[in-house]
Symmetry: C2
Amino acid sequence: MERSTRQRTLIAGLLARAERPLSIAELLALGRAELPGLGQATVYRTVRELVESGELHAVEIPGAAITYERAHHHHHHFHCRRCERVYEVEGCPPGLTALTPAGFRLESHEVILHGLCAGCSA
Amino acid sequence: MERSTRQRTLIAGLLARAERPLSIAELLALGRAELPGLGQATVYRTVRELVESGELHAVEIPGAAITYERAHHHHHHFHCRRCERVYEVEGCPPGLTALTPAGFRLESHEVILHGLCAGCSA
DNA sequence: GTGCATGCAAAGGGTTTGCACGCGC
DNA sequence: GCGCGTGCAAACCCTTTGCATGCAC
């Protein structure tokens, strides 16, 4: 059974409200705004536990800091090379099974799109 | 103009011969076997320069160490969760443009497949 | 009262940087 | 002879860990 402390609730709440994935540093800064004295170890520990419990999902874009988002439906990401923002992308490309070599068992996949977002390509 | 020193040639050669992407630690170990006294800073510096010059490509699989491979044709990767090996996958899934939100400009993409390779699924 | 999450600070691992040496042209 | 790449070691993140405190039950 999970204990629900003030810090844990705060961190989970920050990510629930966030409109984009947040990094550890952002969580720490935002968290301290509401709970001064919040320790960084607590943020690291809490995030790790939430990831392991499946409540959070790590977003690891090569070249960008690792961020975390609430695990909800399956989706992918679009990374804007100009503003660096990460957008959620709905849906999956078809034909992934066709890429899988013979004899391999495909269990999951990730797709990362790179380019310019609407604002930055204008 | 690129200078071609012994160390640089050695590192590029190791990756040219490798049948799978290599990590910095592996490059250092393999390199020292042929050139004792090879410094790790040299490996880091050389790999970074080769990546920037486009000769190498970083393979960043979440949860695995970053490895490097020679940049050749466009391809994707299959990561076996049991033996941890990374395999090259030929071809791209169709329909990536359809995933891209309206107004966004898609420039490149990455696909990472996870599962079990032929050996590990047997 | 007891136990466990917390905060602080130190340790740890991987990567980068500073600098004097010395190889290669 | 000169310059730049190199090796060593220290510096630098970012993350984890140890431990004493104190809140929550």
